[in-house]
Amino acid sequence: MSASESVPSLFVGFSRFVAADEPARASSELVWSDDRSQTEDVTRSKVLIVDDQRLIADTLAEILGNSGFDAVAAYDGFDALEKASRFQPHWVVTDVLMPRMNGVELAIAMRKNFPNSAILLFSGQAGISEILQDGHRQGYQFELLAKPIHPLKLIERLREN
């Protein structure tokens, strides 16, 4: 099954799938924000952090929340797509090597369904070039950051545009 075929179909079915498989997931969503009232502030940048390693997703979401972003953590691609549909993030920062749906598949689904969200990939692994090239062949290019990245550098990057 090639990524080009799998991603859209996966996305179409994702909400049903997630609802059936992990009904508790939506309620475990973490929204880090110093001041709830600022959540509605249109100037506040919304960031969705996706990593199957929860510690990474959670800590980054917390750090970004502390730094004036509206940040939500998601722990896999389906989770991310579901949260994105409600959260409408300006940014999606996603790990690449994740089970079930990899970061590039997620990014392509995001491009198709939420064209207004900018996407940043971040990965700690050298072995992802094939996954990136899969996306490449379908005409998608994504910016890739190397893990580990210092939070301040990530923040700097997110503030660039």
């Binding site: 980054l60 050298a126 072995g127 062949r137 580990p148």
Partner: protein, 510 residues
């Protein structure tokens, strides 16, 4: 008439007359006997082509008894398609001309055709008129066969891709085919009569003694892989098979040697080993990278958060800050050694000197602790489109080498400048250190994978990776070095053209 023939025949055969004949034999009888004893067919004919004499050898070669053929036309012996030859022969004979060693085809009584060489002379009467012709024929079927098989063999030997050489048991070359000329660079004229040792590298002369010893014992040497030397001094790898040449009596009289150039094969083998090593290292690096970089990411975030949650001026904050810096160092090393992945992100437009400043910041503590003074002069005025990650990796690897070579301190000069020169405009970066330098014999190998002069401390991939990345960007990296005391040091020059090569924007598979 027959006597005329005999006279002519004998004079042609140049048989010396007896010096002092005591009882002179009948010359006619004597000559008739000679003709009949001859191994060669001797025939005479009139100018109309009628055969008038026929010796025993003619009977043996052509099959006709004299009684069957005398009085018949010479055309009986000539294949129908060649009978036009006879007219020409007769024309020449009438003109008094002699035809020598004319090679043609004749027919035996049983119809078999065979190659023959004939010499035909006019026979004159007392008045000097040509009245008949003598014909001495030589059956050359056997010679032709030998010639053909020899020339076929020679053609095979000469068209072979392998060098085929023969030599005496004293190692003197006796034949040298075209492939040998191509392979070794010496012509046959240059080698025949010369010792085969000319193509041996000095250190391998002993091999010839051993080869000759085995050959004298009648042994064959098969697929022996060794090194030989070309005329221009270049050494190359060959596989040789040497067989004794044995004469009819079973005596070894020389040796034939078939040599195949296996340099390419060896090179491919070497590359294969290297790329296998590299692939294994790559797989390992990828696996380790995943296991290290993710916890590092978590750890950095956790410490960053812990710092945010501690009192700003407290000891805890200070300690966490130190921990963060140390982690940053670990992260950098992990990226350097494990993080060799293709940055397939879109290239961005940057100033090269900004990237260098980045690298300088990372290495700052190391530079300070080694007492290295950095002198940088940045004159790159134009941004260049590069993959930041890749070029940072290149600069870091070069920087790390410079620092490693200046353990006792020194000066690192880094310059950047725009170069406007055909065929490419671009940016030139030069790292010049005053370190220990690299020995000349190692210098040519520094861009090879797994080559390191740092012993167990080096991975041997830094400069190799740098070269790959720079080449992929369409640039060049070169190195010059001196180990002369007091003047030692290494200069690495990197050139990056402004124009991105088309291939680098395309996704490559590896």
């Amino acid at each position: 008439m027959a006597s005329d023939v005999d006279q002519v025949t004998v004079s042609r055969s140049a048989i010396p007359e007896p010096a002092t004949p005591t009882t002179p034999p009948d010359p006619h009888q004597h000559l008739a006997a000679l003709v009949d004893c001859s191994d060669e067919p001797i025939i005479s004919k009139r100018l109309d082509g009628t055969i008038i004499s026929w010796n025993a050898a003619a009977t043996r070669v052509f099959g006709y008894q004299p009684a069957e053929i005398i009085g018949k036309s010479i055309l009986t012996l000539i294949p129908p398609e060649l009978q036009h030859e006879e007219a020409e022969i007769l024309r020449k004979l009438r003109a008094g001309e002699r035809i020598e060693h004319f090679e043609t085809v004749r027919m035996r009584q049983n119809g078999e055709r065979f190659p023959i060489s004939v010499t035909i002379s006019p026979i004159r009467d007392a008045a000097g008129n040509v009245v008949a012709a003598s014909k001495i024929a030589h059956d050359i079927s056997e010679r032709r066969k030998t010639e053909e098989s020899l020339s076929r063999l020679a053609a095979i030997v000469d068209s072979a891709d392998d060098a085929i050489i023969s030599k005496t048991l004293n190692g003197i070359v006796t034949s040298w085919n075209k492939a040998a000329q191509r392979m070794f660079g010496y012509t046959a004229e240059e080698m025949i009569g010369q010792p085969i040792l000319r193509v041996f590298p000095e250190g391998l002369f002993y091999e010839e003694d051993e080869i000759l010893r085995k050959l004298r014992a009648g042994e064959r040497i098969e697929h022996y892989e060794t090194t030989r030397k070309k005329k221009n001094g270049e050494l190359f790898q060959v596989s040789v098979t040497i067989s004794p040449i044995i004469d009819n009596s079973g005596k070894v009289i020389g040796a034939s040697k078939i040599a195949r150039d296996i340099s390419d094969k060896k090179r491919v083998e070497q590359l294969l080993i290297q790329s296998e090593k590299l692939a294994a290292t790559g797989r390992m690096a990828a696996a380790i990278a995943h296991e290290i970089n993710n916890p590092l990411e978590s750890l950095i975030n956790v410490i960053f958060l812990a710092r945010q949650h501690s009192a700003p001026e407290s000891r805890v904050t200070q300690l966490l800050l130190t921990a963060e810096q140390e982690l940053e160092r670990v992260s950098h090393i992990a990226r350097q050694t494990l993080g060799y992945y293709k940055d397939t992100g879109a290239p961005t437009s940057v100033y090269v000197h900004e990237l260098i400043q980045n690298v300088l910041t990372v290495y700052n503590s190391k530079v300070m602790s080694c007492d290295i003074a950095v002198d940088s002069r940045f004159n790159d005025l134009q941004k260049i489109s590069v993959s930041k990650g890749e070029i940072l990796q290149v600069l870091s690897n070069v920087m790390a080498n410079a620092i490693d070579s200046m353990k006792q301190g020194g000066v690192l000069t880094i310059t950047t400048r725009d170069v406007h020169a055909a065929p490419d405009d671009g940016i030139e970066v030069v790292f010049r250190d005053t370190g220990t330098g690299i020995a000349q014999n190692n210098l040519s190998r520094v861009f090879e994978p797994f080559f390191t002069t740092k012993g167990i401390l080096g991975t041997g991939i830094g400069l190799w990776v740098a070269k790959q990345l720079v080449s992929r960007r369409g640039g060049q990296i070169s190195i010059a070095s001196s180990t002369t005391p007091k003047e030692s040091g290494t200069t690495v020059t990197i050139f990056l053209p402004f124009v991105q090569p088309p291939s680098s924007t395309e996704g490559e598979t590896e």
